[in-house]
């Protein structure tokens, strides 16, 4: 059991408050390029995900876990395809709860 390296649930608005920390978010892929992916966060902000995506094709929604290196970008370490049917609004509300009143359950 180890809680020393959590990944903070963030959306576009919460990312700036966790720069240089390990974060976790789900984006809707808009544009994929070698070395980076442009995505839309669950609160409709454009984010840049740096790093090499996996060799398998990306689905519409992708979870990325990595280090936030600026207000709008994440250096991704782990990519996970979350499929095409993902409820972005639920994830967005979860981010707000996990960083608000119920932060003590996560961090």
């Amino acid at each position: 059991m180890d809680t020393s390296n959590p990944a903070i649930l963030v959306n576009g608005n919460l990312l700036p408050t966790h720069v240089r920390k390990r974060v976790r978010t789900v984006i809707q892929v808009l544009n994929s390029d070698r070395g980076s992916v442009i995505g839309k966060s669950t609160d409709d902000q454009q984010l840049v995900i740096k790093g090499s995506p996996p060799s398998t094709p990306l689905t519409k929604f992708v979870e990325v876990i990595g280090i936030a290196d600026s207000d709008k970008s994440i250096q991704a370490e782990i990519w996970t395809n979350f499929g095409d049917n993902f409820d972005a609004s639920s994830f967005n509300q979860l981010c707000q709860l996990a960083n608000g009143e119920y932060q003590h359950l996560f961090l």
């Binding site: 809680t3 782990i78 499929g83 049917n85 409820d87 709860l97 608000g100 119920y102 359950l105 996560f106």
Partner: protein
């Protein structure tokens, strides 16, 4: 939808269903004797984050409690970040974003071996098992593990963790009995997730009606609506404004507004809702709205003198148009 076989249906989910203990399973009953701790009713299934599991207070590394509830079986959803295969068992390290938990599964049937082969590093899994402690470390003795196929399950699990914590810390002390279920939750449903989704629309309303805290909240919202600057505004008060003034999350305002739409009607008609039935309030609202519409249309039918015809038609046309509309 999400492993419904291990849940008892939508109704059971909110009458307990393993998540919330019934009245017979209060902590003091569990602690009274070891036999009561073996009582089936005391064995609830708790969705927990690794962070919560790591902070569970315990005295003998075997009896854990959280929010006043005895922890026995837990459910965890996370990503496999390490896998160790042994002869008689395998161990997974599961990361749910809040921490990493060791999950140990013994091979007891051939099915277990097949199940293990289907899980690899990077797979998201749902784990059910008993939380155990040994020499300061915590781990889960797994009896059920399966890969996640619909990733909404990951979000759903974390929301369930929040809800169960909220219920056990705040609602249980307020409501004497579990909140009543509405007709929208089929008691015989075997789909736990559907039960959770349909209940979530009504559960807050039913739960809140029994709470003094929510009555206070309702009064605060009415106070905001009755502020002079809002009372004179014919457009009413947007719920964003109410949320901002009261510093409340939007979903709370939405729940209150859905259940208290009659209060909004009474505000618009300036009739205290406690004095008149809601039907009268609705009728008054309709009459007021109709009056405003008629005034608006009356103004729209007025034409400037320069556009009048020589026959002075507008002076006779105006009342005709006005009454023709009604």
């Amino acid at each position: 939808m999400y492993g419904g076989s291990e849940f008892d249906g939508g109704a059971a989910a909110f009458m307990g269903g393993g998540f919330m203990p019934s009245q017979a399973t209060q902590p003091h009953d569990s602690f009274a004797s070891s036999s009561s701790s073996k009582n089936r009713d005391s064995k609830v299934l708790l969705p927990l984050t690794v962070k919560q599991m790591s902070e569970l207070p315990t005295t003998d590394e075997s009896n854990f409690t959280i929010d006043g509830v005895v922890v026995n079986t837990v459910v965890l959803v996370g990503r496999v970040c390490r896998k160790e295969d042994k002869v008689s068992d395998y161990t997974l390290l599961v990361d749910d974003g809040t921490g990493v938990m060791e999950c140990c599964k013994w091979f007891q049937e051939p099915l277990d071996t097949e199940e293990a082969e289907g899980i690899s590093i990077g797979t998201y899994v749902r784990v059910h098992g008993h939380l155990r402690g040994l020499q300061g470390r915590r781990f889960i003795n797994v009896f059920s593990i399966r890969p996640v196929t619909d990733f909404n399950e990951v979000v759903s699990h974390l929301i369930e963790c929040i809800y169960v914590h909220f219920y056990n810390t705040k609602m249980k002390g307020v409501a004497a009995q579990p909140p009543p279920l509405t007709n929208s939750i089929p008691p015989s449903s075997s789909n736990f997730s559907r039960g959770l989704q349909s209940a979530s629309l009504n559960q807050p309303t039913a739960a809140f009606q029994g709470s003094d805290r929510i009555n206070n909240l309702r009064q605060k919202i009415l106070d905001v609506i009755h502020q002079p600057q809002h009372l004179n505004n014919e457009e009413g008060v947007h719920r964003d404004v109410i949320a901002r003034q009261l510093n409340l999350p939007m979903h709370i305002i939405k729940c209150i507004s859905r259940s208290d739409i009659s209060c909004l009607f009474s505000f618009l008609t300036c009739i205290p809702w406690t004095n008149f039935p809601n039907v009268v309030g609705l009728l008054a609202f309709g009459l007021w709205t109709g009056k405003q519409l008629r005034l608006l249309l009356w103004k729209a039918t007025c034409t400037p003198r320069s556009m009048m015809t020589t026959s002075n038609q507008p002076s006779t046309v105006r009342p005709i148009i006005f009454f023709a509309l009604f």
